[in-house]
């Protein structure tokens, strides 16, 4: 049978940033995949070398709208690593609180989109309804780009009256998350649709150096919050979520369980903030010559920043590596041999930065009807088939 090539992207509703995937299919089966990036290279590393250390934090906050805490946190960790700068206890709790709130809203965003891709639009509506951006507004005044991080601490304190308000929001999220986790774990259609789909084996997860829920769903336990605990993570009680199968279902369950762990962490941070008094920012005047590594466990995996200083007020080199950069190449392993109807959810399973760009699907083989190769339609039709089969039994 003749192999056909199906391009996905560079602009597609699956992808927040423009990326290009070329699926080689033999009949209904994906036999190979090629990926191209570079459609949105914005030169952040180069621009950062022209900014002061403080300005760099604001710059990297704008790399990703969803990870606008993770990049600044990794950046300040890298600068603090150069001089081993200590940060006040209260600031440590505030950093972890904001980081975990970001994890909750990012995982809910993914959960909603994953539901949409497989035809579970109710899950999509619920997940997005309970995405709690109001909590960021209460803490920082902004729903995005919070401007919280500083070298040596944080920029804004969390007042006692805000703590009470935040706890009410957390109570609501926890109730809803327990409900959504039951749906995710118990729904027979969802389980049948996602179990065994797009498997990334333990060996491949290690070979491709994947991070975050992508690797933890394949039994690789790496989590920066445990491996190199910064901020308040060594003072908090929470669990590392690791599952063995590597399929899309395990990636979903890892994220759902991590939301519940994040709620636990936020609750502990708020309790500690009631008693942990003191400053929120140490006065850091100079950064010595040297090099520092900073990392943070973002919702998608490890965010890595490397900063080299020559003793002036700006970095001479600022390297940034986001988690999707190491997770996306693993499609080479997870997409081979899967049916074309599962390609969309497999590509989405590593959470490669979504956005609402318009979908474009182009078929190189003009003999095919494009409607029959609409990946979203194929994916949703497969779910519907499974639903009918289960209901008929």
């Amino acid at each position: 049978m003749k192999a056909n090539k199906i391009p996905v992207g560079p602009f597609h509703p699956l992808l927040e940033e423009a990326e290009y995937f070329e699926l080689t299919v033999d009949g209904e089966t994906v036999v190979d995949i090629d990926m191209e990036i570079g459609w949105m290279h914005r030169g952040h590393e180069y621009i950062s070398e022209m900014k002061t250390f403080t300005q760099s934090i604001y710059l990297v906050e704008r790399i990703c709208g969803i990870c606008s805490t993770s990049h600044p946190l990794a950046c300040v960790h890298a600068i603090e690593d150069i001089d081993n700068i200590e940060i006040p206890l209260r600031a440590r709790y505030i950093r972890s609180l904001v980081g975990e709130l970001e994890r909750i809203h990012s995982h809910l965003l993914w959960l909603g989109l994953a539901g949409h891709f497989i035809g579970y639009d109710t899950l999509w509506m619920w997940a997005w309804k309970y995405r709690e951006l109001e909590m960021f507004e209460i803490i920082s005044g902004n729903r995005n780009h919070y401007g919280m991080m500083r070298v040596g601490g944080v920029a804004k304190d969390v007042d006692p009256e805000k703590i009470v308000e935040l706890q009410k929001h957390l109570d609501m999220i926890e109730r809803k998350m327990i409900m959504i986790s039951k749906i995710a774990k118990d729904d027979p259609v969802l389980r049948s649709r996602l179990k065994g789909v797009g498997v990334l084996s333990h060996e491949d997860a290690i070979a491709y150096c994947t991070t975050g829920p992508t690797s933890r769903a394949s039994g690789v336990p790496g989590d920066v919050r445990f491996d190199e605990p910064t901020d308040a993570y060594d003072l908090l009680d929470f669990e590392r979520i690791v599952l063995p199968n590597g399929d899309v279902y395990d990636k979903l369950v890892v994220r759902v369980l991590e939301i519940i762990e994040s709620v636990k962490i936020c609750r502990q941070c708020l309790d500690k903030l009631k008693t942990a008094t003191g400053p929120i920012l140490n006065n850091v005047k100079e950064i010595s010559p040297g090099e520092g590594i900073g990392r943070y466990e973002a919702p998608r995996g490890e965010v890595f920043h490397y900063i080299r200083s020559d003793g002036t007020n700006r970095p001479i080199r600022h390297k940034v590596r986001a988690p999707s950069y190491v997770n996306i190449p693993s499609f080479k392993a997870s997409c081979k041999g899967i049916p074309i109807a599962d390609a969309l959810i497999t590509l989405a399973s590593v959470d490669p930065c979504y956005c609402c760009t318009e979908r474009s699907l182009k078929i190189i083989d003009n003999n095919h009807d494009p409607q029959k190769l609409d990946l979203l339609k194929l994916s949703r039709e497969k779910t519907e088939r499974i639903r009918r089969e289960i209901n008929a039994d």
């Binding site: 180069y46 690593d81 290690i206 070979a207």
Partner: protein
């Protein structure tokens, strides 16, 4: 830390200009030894390659690898310094670490460093750039 001591004991002869600080070990290695070092860190010690950083300095082009030992949170950072700025070449570690394919391609793309033994040595970020004359945009202009 036991891992650092064991690494230095086994690989000490290939390590130069070592800088050790809390949770970090930066050191220089010769280009001829980088594959052996990468194999020891990735295969024997079970480290993960976080990424690699290229830098153009006055004394040459540096390629700094960041291997994370996740069990302990320790970073091992071997650095290869290339003196020949006009024709920079480094041995590829992709035969050992599959995850290095994009990382090395990006360094080739932005810095012009050729990785010997890489399976697909072509641009990663500027492959479809509207300016076809754009080559290695992060190099100093007088050298590139």
């Amino acid at each position: 830390m036991a891992e650092v001591e064991r690494f230095l004991k086994d690989m000490g002869g290939k390590i130069h200009a070592k800088i050790e600080k809390k949770g970090r070990l930066y050191f220089n290695v010769d280009n001829a030894d980088i594959r052996e070092i990468a194999e020891y860190l990735f295969v024997k010690m079970g480290c993960r390659l976080s990424t690699a950083t290229a830098m153009e300095m006055y004394h040459g082009i540096e390629v700094l690898y960041h291997f994370s030992h996740d069990k302990t949170g320790q970073y091992f950072c071997p650095r290869v310094v290339i003196k020949d700025k006009k024709n920079p070449k480094v041995n590829s570690i992709t035969s050992i670490v599959e995850g290095a394919i994009w990382i090395e391609r990006e360094m080739f793309d932005l810095w012009g460093i050729e990785f010997i033994g890489h399976p697909r040595m072509e641009e990663l970020l500027t492959l479809h750039h509207p300016n076809p004359d754009l080559k290695h945009p992060l190099r100093f202009k007088e050298v590139a």
